[in-house]
């Protein structure tokens, strides 16, 4: 019984004290800042792509632009 209570309490704690922050739609100004983009320098992006293509055998899959705006 005690163990079960402990287990339930532990699970509840896991559910409610996760490290996820719920960023409200109106608080996404910082997330959408240009400096948050991984591909904001075209030349650097092209070079990184080239390295992945020629050395790492991993290419593509990075062509989808995703801002942090979450609008619409």
């Amino acid at each position: 019984m005690k163990l079960r209570l402990l287990f339930t309490a532990g699970t509840a704690a896991l559910l409610f004290t996760t490290g996820c922050a719920n960023v409200k739609p109106w608080e996404r100004g910082t997330l959408t800042d240009d400096t948050m983009r991984a591909d904001r320098h075209p030349i650097e992006t092209a070079q990184a792509q080239h390295i992945w293509f020629s050395r790492e055998e991993a290419t593509g899959g990075s062509g989808v632009g995703g801002g942090g705006c979450g609008c619409n």
Binding site: F16, P25, E27, R28, G29, C69, G70
Partner: protein
Amino acid sequence: MNTSLLKKLAVATLLAGTLFTAPAALKVGDTAPDLAGFKLEGPLPSSFKGKVVILDFWASWCGPCAESFPVMDELQKKYQDQGLVIVAVSVDEKAAKMETFLKKNPVSFTVVRDAEHKLVATVEPPTMPTSFIIDREGKVRFLHSGFHGATTRKEYVEQIESLLKATP
């Protein structure tokens, strides 16, 4: 682990889910909040009495908002004589960013800034932009979540015209 515990866990998970995805606090049918009580930056129209109001929440970093501004400007010019008032509330944290946006997208309707995020936290718009269309009695009648170009524009026109028909 027995099934009753699993059931409890499932319920707890569902409850947690609803907690984390709260819909807009201001809903269709609610009475619109009195904007004067939220310390908004910038002058508000002297009275909303008997007016049809579009209360729009936007930000300078939001793409669809920039798209919505010319449309709302057009609507304001077209319907203001019949009693339409548009109030666009910026949620920008920096006033300078809002100013830059407004220089690029000049408009004739009222723009204020919710610097302290008090109004926006009360209304809880589900996305940027969100607009509430409020009737002459001060009740929220329509909610637009996001701006979808011509589709939203058409809905705006139909809804505004239907609300303007009511006598103040």
